[in-house]
């Protein structure tokens, strides 16, 4: 190495280590992986797709046996029927979505540069609806959007989460989502991170707190049998638990949070419409 290149390389190296401003989404994700590796060195993080169940082998075994004959089979039949029902134009959702809706959920949310905002899979569904003569559904509605995505997302089972943050506008949306993750809210003053980064694996009463990694891989969930809950409905529910009146599903604050949140699961396989307590 010549006389100029060496100090320059050293300087750049120091800059990379010392300046947090240079940290991007991938550095954030790797720091999160390291955080959990330090906290739970013996745990296989691949199991984080099971959420809190990853911390309790008995509960995980019970979950796996429930999933052999899930109590929400009839709901899934309704979901498939809804998926196959043509819209007013005569086209189906498979005609409208990329790749017929198969193996795409892991790419969402994505940043749409033309629109200048984050687009969730649910927004893509509503775009299909409005382009084909239908009214947009309410985000988070378990009987319409929730039910349709309960089937749609299963078409991506096994796909690895593949969120991309490219360019300044996308980075800004990601950073906004990250800020929401760490921002304390409500009378009880919790952030998402309080429980699901720093507290994951600990218990609140008898419930184990799930880790941020893996959390976005399996929505919607059917809680207590047949109660369908979407990811953003759960966000609002979490806000309620800390006594904060949260935004409704579909709000940009949640879309950007989902963008950051999903990035933390990059590389993990998706499995939709699963059972949760």
């Amino acid at each position: 190495m010549n006389k100029i290149a060496y100090p320059l390389a050293l300087f750049c190296g120091l800059l990379a280590v010392a300046s947090p401003a240079l940290a991007g989404p991938e550095e954030d994700r790797q720091a999160m992986v390291k955080h959990f590796k330090d906290a739970y060195p013996k745990m296989d993080q691949a199991n984080f797709i099971y959420g809190a169940l990853a911390f309790n082998q008995d509960a995980l075994n019970q979950y796996k046996s429930i999933m052999e004959f899930p109590p929400y089979v009839e709901e899934m039949e309704k979901a498939e029927k809804l998926w196959k029902t043509p819209m007013k134009s005569g086209k189906t959702y498979a005609d409208c979505l990329p790749n017929g809706g198969k193996m795409i959920a892991g790419n969402y949310p994505l940043f749409d540069n033309a629109k200048g905002k984050v687009v969730t899979l649910e927004m893509a569904v509503n775009d299909c609806r409005t382009a084909n003569g239908e009214e947009a559904w309410k985000y988070g509605d378990p009987k319409t959007m929730g039910l349709l995505t309960a089937h749609l997302r299963t078409l991506s089972d096994g796909m690895k989460v593949n969120i991309k943050v490219e360019g300044p506008a996308a980075t800004k949306a990601y950073e906004d989502g990250k800020k929401t993750w760490y921002q304390r809210k409500g009378q009880l003053n919790f952030s998402c991170a309080s429980c699901h980064t720093y507290g994951a694996g600990d218990k609140v009463r008898s419930e184990i707190l799930s880790p941020v990694i893996g959390q976005t891989t399996h929505w919607p969930v059917f809680r207590a049998g047949t109660n369908l809950v979407t990811l953003q409905t759960r966000y609002k529910g979490c806000n309620g638990s800390v006594r904060h009146v949260g935004a409704d599903p579909g709000h940009e604050i949640w879309n950007n949070l989902e963008y950051y949140h999903s990035y933390m699961s990059n590389g993990l396989p998706m499995q939709a419409s699963v059972f949760r307590k």
């Binding site: 009378q187 009880l188 919790f190 309080s194 218990k203 609140v204």
Partner: protein, 116 residues
């Protein structure tokens, strides 16, 4: 002075938060233990093991030997009122800073916790 500040804070809180979020008046007969164990009140059990409480959480340390840890009850009270003043990273809700308990409930709760 203290009462004046508190009533001012309550008026401010009433303007800023929805009624459902403001601390409801203490029910007569609610003990410090009730307040520590019940979900809508202190709910200390959510995170701390406490003698006599079932299915405690593990986010915070067990509450025991409190007189040895806090010989001065006022110091314990300050921690319960706003733990983030001592440790900004603490997950513990700042109960009095955010008006989650009435003064009467808070006093009863501090007495109970200090006795553990």
């Amino acid at each position: 002075m203290h009462i004046k500040h508190l009533s001012g804070a309550l008026v401010l809180a009433a303007c800023l938060v929805t009624p459902a979020l403001a601390a409801e008046p203490a029910k007569p007969g609610l003990t410090g233990k009730d307040i520590a164990f019940q979900l809508p009140k202190g709910n200390c059990l959510a995170c701390h093991a406490i003698a006599g409480g079932e299915q405690p959480g593990t986010l915070g340390p067990e509450l025991k030997d409190m007189k040895a840890r806090f010989p001065d009850k006022k110091e314990l009270a300050a921690h319960i009122a706003d733990q983030t003043a001592f440790n900004p990273y603490s997950a513990m809700p700042p109960f009095m800073k955010h008006g989650a308990l009435t003064q009467e409930e808070f006093d009863k709760l501090v007495d109970f916790i200090h006795g553990l």
